[in-house]
C-alpha cells in the first residue's frame, strides 16, 4: 500500500500545472544562476590577472631595488565564490604589503562598484534560499488540507489504509518528486560550468556536490514543514497563509534581526580605536628610533664605502626593534578583538540558527570558502607574504626597506663597491610570488558540519511532526 501511495503522490505532483509552472521557473533560475556565476568568475579572473599585471608593470619605472618599498597582493577569485557569494564581495580584496609593519587592506567589490550592492547578486545560494524554498512551500501546503477539501482524503481512507502509510507515502513521494526534478536541473547546471570555461579540480567538485546536498536538505526542511502545517489545518487557504508567514519570517526577518540584536550586545573594539592606539605607540616608538639614531657609533675604520652600509645595517636593526615592539602590541590588540568577535559571532549565529536559512547560508559559505574566515585567511597569507617579501628585499639591497628612513647610496658619494657599475635594472619577475592557497577540503567541510546537522535535525523534526499531527487528523 505504501508503494502505491508513493507512486500516486509522484504522479500527482509531476502531472499538476502547479508543478509544471513552478518547476519551469525554478529550472530557468537555477541554470541562470550557474550561467551568471560562471560568467562572473571569468570576469573576476580577468580583473585579477589584469591587476597583478598592472602591479608588476608599475615597477618598470624603477631603476634601483632600493627605491622599491611596497607591493600589492590581491585576493584570487574562487570558482565556487560566484555560486555562493558569502562575504567575498564585502571584504577588502587588495593588501598593501611593505617589508614590515601593518598591512592595510582596501577595495572590497561592493565599495568599488556600489551599484552591485544595491540588490546584490543572483547566486545559487540565493536561488536555493528564496526561490526553491518557496517552490517547496507551494508544493506542500495543500498536501493534506487540499485533499480533504477536494474530498479525495475520505476516498483514500475508505480503503484499508493505515494512516502511517498514507502520511509516510505523502512525505516520501513529495520528497522524491521534488528532489529528483531539482537534481536533473542542477546536473544540467553542472555541465554548464566546464562549457563556460570554468575548470575545477576534484576537491572543488566535491565541495560543490556538498553545497547542492545542503541546498536540497534545506528545501526538504520547507517541504516537510509545509506538509506538517497542512496536517494541522483543515483548509488549504489557511495552511498556505501560515506556511507563507513562516517562510517570510525564516528567510527575511529572523537571520538579519537576530544578528543585529545579538551582535550589538557584545562590545568589539572598532578598527578606528585600534588604529589610534597603534598610532600613539607609533609616535613613541618613532621618538625612540630617533634617539637610537643619534647614538650611532662607527665601528672599525671610517672607510666611506663601508660607512653607509654600516649605517644602513644599524638603521635596519633599529627598525627591527621598533617593528617587533609594534607587532607584539598589535598582536595583543588583534587577539583581543578576534576573541570578542568570536563571542559575538557565536551568540549572533546561535540565535539566528532558529531559521534554517541561516544554516544554509553558513554551511554553503564554509563549503565555498566565502565565510567570515576568508578575511582572516587573506590577512594571514598577506602576513606570510610580508616575510618572504622582507627577506627578498634584504637579499637585494642589504636591508629591509619597510621603514620610514631609507638611505640611498648615492653614486656621487662613491657608495657601493664598484664606482662605475650601473645599478641593475629592476626585474619585476624576480619578486616572490604570493602563495594564495584556497581552503582545503577539511577546512571547508568541518565548520559546515554543525549547520548540515541542524538541517537534518529540522527535516526529522518536521517529518515526525507531520506524522504525529496526521495521526489525529479528522479525515472526513
Amino acid at each position: 500500500m505504501l508503494r502505491i501511495i508513493i507512486e500516486k503522490e509522484i504522479r500527482d505532483l509531476l502531472g499538476s500545472t502547479k508543478f509544471a509552472v513552478t518547476f519551469g521557473v525554478c529550472a530557468v533560475l537555477v541554470l541562470l544562476a550557474f550561467y551568471v556565476g560562471a560568467a562572473r568568475h571569468m570576469l573576476y579572473q580577468a580583473r585579477f590577472e589584469a591587476s597583478q599585471a598592472e602591479n608588476l608593470r608599475s615597477m618598470k619605472g624603477i631603476s634601483d631595488w632600493q627605491d622599491f618599498d611596497e607591493t600589492r597582493i590581491f585576493l584570487p577569485p574562487q570558482p565556487l565564490a560566484s555560486l555562493v557569494s558569502g562575504v567575498s564581495n564585502d571584504i577588502d580584496g587588495t593588501a598593501i604589503v611593505r617589508g614590515r609593519g601593518d598591512i592595510p587592506t582596501e577595495d572590497s567589490r561592493y565599495n568599488e562598484d556600489p551599484v552591485f550592492a544595491i540588490f546584490r547578486f543572483i547566486d545559487l545560494e540565493f536561488i536555493f534560499k528564496i526561490v526553491l524554498s518557496l517552490f517547496a512551500v507551494l508544493l506542500g501546503y495543500d498536501a493534506i488540507s487540499g485533499e480533504k477539501e477536494r474530498g479525495t482524503l475520505r476516498l483514500s481512507f475508505s480503503n484499508a489504509l493505515p494512516r502511517r502509510d498514507y502520511i509516510a507515502g505523502k512525505l516520501v513521494g513529495s520528497f522524491l518528486g521534488l528532489m529528483i526534478s531539482l537534481m536533473v536541473t542542477i546536473s544540467l547546471g553542472f555541465l554548464l560550468l566546464p562549457l563556460m570555461g570554468i575548470n575545477m579540480n576534484g576537491e572543488e567538485w566535491i565541495k560543490l556536490i556538498l553545497i547542492v546536498v545542503t541546498g536540497l536538505l534545506y528545501v526538504g526542511v520547507f517541504l516537510s514543514l509545509s506538509i506538517f502545517i497542512s496536517a494541522l489545518t483543515h483548509r488549504s487557504a489557511h495552511s498556505f497563509l501560515i506556511s507563507l508567514a513562516v517562510w517570510v519570517l525564516c528567510i527575511h526577518i529572523i537571520p538579519g534581526v537576530s544578528i543585529l540584536m545579538a551582535a550589538r550586545s557584545v562590545a568589539v573594539p572598532s578598527s578606528d580605536e585600534i588604529a589610534y592606539q597603534k598610532s600613539t605607540l607609533g609616535i613613541q616608538l618613532a621618538g625612540e628610533f630617533e634617539d637610537g639614531m643619534s647614538r650611532f657609533a662607527v665601528k672599525g675604520d671610517a672607510n666611506p664605502d663601508k660607512l653607509v652600509s654600516q649605517l644602513n645595517t644599524y638603521i635596519d636593526s633599529l627598525n627591527n626593534v621598533r617593528d617587533i615592539k609594534m607587532q607584539a602590541f598589535s598582536a595583543r590588540l588583534n587577539e583581543d578583538r578576534l576573541n570578542r568577535q568570536r563571542i559575538q559571532e557565536n551568540l549572533a549565529f546561535a540565535l539566528a540558527r532558529i531559521s534554517p536559512a541561516t544554516s544554509l547560508s553558513l554551511a554553503t559559505a564554509h563549503l565555498a570558502g566565502t565565510s567570515l574566515s576568508l578575511k582572516s585567511k587573506f590577512a594571514d597569507q598577506a602576513r606570510d607574504y610580508q616575510k618572504s617579501f622582507g627577506s627578498f628585499m634584504v637579499e637585494k639591497t642589504g636591508m629591509n626597506t619597510g621603514g620610514i628612513i631609507k638611505i640611498r647610496t648615492s653614486k656621487a658619494c662613491g657608495g657601493g663597491d664598484d664606482k662605475n657599475k650601473e645599478p641593475e635594472p629592476v626585474n619585476p619577475e624576480e619578486l616572490p610570488k604570493p602563495m594564495l592557497s584556497s581552503f582545503t577540503l577539511g577546512e571547508s567541510v568541518n565548520p559546515a558540519l554543525t549547520d548540515v546537522g541542524i538541517l537534518i535535525v529540522y527535516n526529522f523534526l518536521f517529518f515526525a511532526g507531520a506524522f504525529i499531527a496526521f495521526l489525529r487528523y479528522d479525515l472526513r
Binding site: 509552472v21 570576469l43 580583473r47 627605491d67 550592492a117 547578486f121 543585529l260 589610534y276 650611532f296 578575511k375
Partner: protein, 486 residues
Amino acid sequence: MLVTLINKELKAVILSPKFTGTFLVCTLLILLSVFAGIREYKESVKRYDSASQLVSQDLQNQTSWSRIKTKAYRAPDPMQILVSGLEYDIGRWSPVSSQNTAKLKNSIYSDESIYAVFRVVDFTFIVQFVLTLFAILFTYNAVCGEREDGTLRLVFSNPVSRARYLVAKCAGAWLGLVVPISIPILLGMLMILLSGVPITAGHWVRIGLLMGISLLLFTFFVVLGVFISLLTRRTSLSLLTALVVWVLFVLIIPRAGIMSAGSAVRVPSVSEIEGQISGYAKERWDEFYQSMEERFARMQGAKGAEGEVDEELMWSMMQAEDSLRRVVTEEINRHDLKLREDLRQRKTRQENLALALARFSPASAYQLGAMSLAGTNLDIKIRYEETINNYRTQFITFADRKQAESGDLAARMISLSVTDSSSNLTMSGGRDKKALDLSGLPRFEAPSLNLADAVSPAIVDFGILALYTILTFMAGFIAFLRYDLR
C-alpha cells in the same frame, strides 16, 4: 452603488481571517525594523563621534607641517534609520594628505563583516518583501474568487457597470489594507520622534515622501493582484501566477538588470587604475632621485679644496629640492585625479545602464527612489569624494603656508661626522619636536544633502511607479470588459 460596493469590499477584507494575522505581522515587522534602524543609527553616531575625536587627537600628536595628514569621515544621516541603502557598503573614511587624493575606504561591511552575512533589515526591505506579498495575498482572488463562489453573477444581476465594479474592488481592497499599514507606520514615526534622533523639518518632508512612495508601491501590487485575478478563472492558478510575478518583480529583475549591465559594459578595476597611477608615480620619483643625484654630484665637484661641505649650500639645495618635490607630488596627484575621473565616467555609464534595466521592476524603482530620498544612493561616493578633494586643497594650502612660515622642510638632513676618537650622527629637519599650532586649521565639514537634490532623482521613480499602476489598471479594465461573469 460605487459606495456600496466599496463598503462591501472593505468589510470583506477586514472581516476575513487573513486580516488579523496580516495586521499583526505587519505591525511587528515595521516596528521591529524602525527599532533596529534607530539602534543602528545611534551606533553610527557613536562611532562617528569617537572617530572625530581620534582624528583631532591624532592631529595634535603630529609634529611636522610638511608631513601632516588627517582623515575625513562620513557623517551619519537620520534617514538611514528607514533606508540603509549603500550606507554600509561604501567606505567610511578617506585619507587627507599631500600624497593621496580622496578615496573612501573600509566600509562597515568590510570592517565588521558579520553584518554582511545577512544584510540589514530596514523599513524599505519590509515594504518590498512583506507588504507587497500581503497586497498580492489579499487581491489574487479578487475577481476569480468571487466567480468561483458564485457571487459575481449575483452582483451583476444588479445594474452595476463593470468599470465601477473594478474601481470598487481596487479601492475597497486598498482602503482595507492601508489601515494595517498606516497604524504601525505612524507608531514608527512616533518612535523616531521619541528616540531623541535630531530630525529637521527637511527630514520630515523626505520621510513623508518616502511613505508616499511606499504607499504607491503597495497600490501597484494591489492593482496587480486584481489584474492577475482577471486573467484566469481558477484561484489556484491565479495565486501561482501572482507568486511567480512577485518573484520576478521583487527578486529577479532588479538583480538580473544590474548584472547584465555589469557584463555589457566592461570597466577596469580600481586596482588596475591604481597600478597605473603608482607606475607613473614611481617613474616620476625615479627621475627626481636621478636629478637629485646629479645635483649632488655637481655640488661635490664644487666643494672647496679642503673637502668640506658648505652648510649654506646644503640647506639651499635642500630647500630647492623641497619645492621640486612638491611639484612632482602635484603632478602625480593631477595624473591620479585624471585617471580616477576617467574611471568614474566609465563607471557612471555602466551604472546608468544598470539602473535603467533594473527599473523595469517597480520594486527596484521603489528601492532606488527611496535611496535617493534618504541620500544613501550612489551619489554618496561622488558627493563625499568631491567635498574631500576640495577640503584637501584647503588643508594642503594651509599646511604649506604654515610650513613656509616656520621654515620646516620635508627633507631631513643627516650629517655624520667622524673623527679619530668618536663619531657623531645628527638628524635635523626643522623644528620637529613640539606639537603644531593647529589654530585656524580648516576642519572637514561633511557635505549636507539639500531637499531639492534628494527629491529630484526620486521623481523619476515616482513617475515609473505611477505609470505602472495606471497601465496595470487599464489592462485590468480591458481584461474585465471581456470577462465571462457566469
